[in-house]
């Protein structure tokens, strides 16, 4: 497509002119503002005080959102402070002196490094969801040492043990794995028992989806060898889909942001990479190490092809992570509109938008599972393609 008409059209130039005009207007207004503020320092002080208050409110909302999309050692149900109700999950640490386990209840919901837990001759504190070795003495009531790095960000200097805890995300992964096992083992059993008969119950609900994965994802991309890869494709499809959907459920077994955790998507992408690498045939490797280009292009093409091996799973990882995380942030920010405007009148609009976006997220949950599976199938298909007629 040619974009030249786009640049030359009158409408566009008018829009561009208007945009540039607005930009200048904005810059001017800013300048006036700062000049005005310099005139009366008292007003400025009052204003900055006000701005700080606003900043604090905003900061809390950021914290709130990142707390919800992040991982935690507790599964929060409802309530705050004394009315806090939830599940304390076990903490498993690999320390310098071996494995240490204790219940996260010991931290008493502390996340600022004020509560020290002594276990196995070592002292631990938790700050911002991460567990550290406690410092010997408290500093402003906190047992973690903060220091500003060159960017002006606070960094914690304490040493960290390796954290293998059953966190919220791990708990939800276990939950979804058990759910998938129960569902699919029962469906597989009913296929054995009712061989040759029409599907029944759960089986008839899942059969069209399984056939969809086979006929629309595996067969067109993998050709006649599709059967070898069906177990992986079905597993990854249902795992991602179930976890996307669980992430949208706002209460107990759901609510964890599993597929929006980059470590989870990284593992899924690495599994795809390993399958690609192990099933790649001689044409695939030939294409990488001896690409069909003129000889003088080869020094350029071979590194590009080698990087290409890794960018594919990298894109898979980022795509799933960013889509799901962005969805969660969007829903939570729309909910937070009520707190930003601090009025009840905005609530109906906010709820309406949340419902609207949540409905779209239901669609995105399916599309992302589909995209991950079909791209995995596509990349595996490219690796096992038989012909080399370039």
């Amino acid at each position: 497509m040619k974009f030249s008409h786009f640049l030359t059209s009158k409408k566009m130039s008018a829009v561009a002119f208007f945009a540039v005009f607005l930009l200048f207007l904005n810059a001017n207004a800013r300048q006036h503002e700062s000049e005005g503020a310099e005139d009366s320092s008292a007003v400025m002080r009052a204003e900055t005080g006000h701005a700080q208050e606003k900043d604090e409110g905003k900061f809390e909302i950021n914290n709130f959102i990142f707390h919800h999309i992040g991982d935690a050692h507790e599964f929060h149900f409802w309530g705050e402070g004394e009315n806090w109700t939830g599940l304390h999950l076990p903490i498993i640490l690999y320390t310098d002196k071996g494995l240490v386990t204790f219940n996260s209840k010991a931290f008493a919901l502390d996340n600022d490094g004020t509560k020290v837990v002594e276990k196995g001759g070592m002292r631990f504190v938790r700050a911002h969801g991460k567990i550290y070795y406690a410092a010997d003495a408290a500093e402003h009531g906190s047992y973690v040492h903060h220091e500003k790095n060159e960017k002006g960000e606070e960094v914690i200097l304490n040493k960290k043990p390796l954290d293998f805890s059953i966190t919220k995300n791990v708990f939800t992964i276990f939950f979804s794995v058990i759910l998938l096992l129960v569902i699919f083992l029962s469906v597989a059993k009913s296929y054995k028992r009712r061989e040759g008969k029409a599907p029944k119950g759960l089986q008839s609900f899942l059969e069209p989806i399984i056939l969809f994965v086979r006929d629309d994802i595996a067969k067109p991309n993998l050709g006649h060898k599709y059967e070898r890869y069906m177990p992986y494709l079905l597993t990854v499809f249902f795992f991602i889909w179930l976890n996307n959907m669980l992430g949208l459920v706002p209460f107990f077994p759901g609510g964890a942001n599993v597929t929006g955790n980059i470590a989870v998507t990284m593992v899924l992408a690495i599994v795809t990479l390993v399958i690609i690498l192990f099933s790649g045939n001689k044409y695939y490797w030939g294409h990488i190490f001896n690409p069909p280009v003129p000889w003088w292009l080869k020094p350029l093409m071979i590194p590009v092809e080698i990087i290409g091996i890794f960018t594919k799973p990298f894109a898979l990882m980022i795509r799933l992570f960013a889509n799901i995380t962005a969805g969660h942030i969007l829903v939570l920010s729309l909910l937070c509109l009520v707190f930003i405007f601090n009025s009840l009148a905005i609530a109906p609009a906010s709820v309406f938008f949340v419902i609207f976006i949540s409905t779209i997220e239901l669609l995105v949950a399916f599309i992302q599972a589909f995209i991950f599976t079909i791209l995995s199938a596509l990349f595996i298909g490219m690796a096992i393609e038989e012909h080399a007629d370039h």
Partner: protein
């Protein structure tokens, strides 16, 4: 300041991705109207292409989140 710049970057990425996905969606609509029996194949191809474009936009979003 970096926050503002990051927001501008995310906006620019959104413009690019919007143009790309709009183009894909428009073409897919056109081709489905021309050949309705190929709708499912066109939809699959459309989603794959959209996913690739979206990935670029999401890279930009991630970069501006980190920055």
């Amino acid at each position: 300041m970096t926050g503002t710049l990051a927001a501008i970057g995310a906006g620019l990425a959104a413009i690019g991705a919007g143009l790309g996905i709009g183009k894909i969606g428009g073409s897919a609509m056109e081709s489905i109207a021309r050949q309705p029996e190929a709708a499912s194949k066109i939809q699959t191809a459309m989603l794959i292409a959209a996913a690739f474009i979206e990935a670029v936009a999401l890279f930009a979003v991630v970069v501006s989140l980190i920055a």
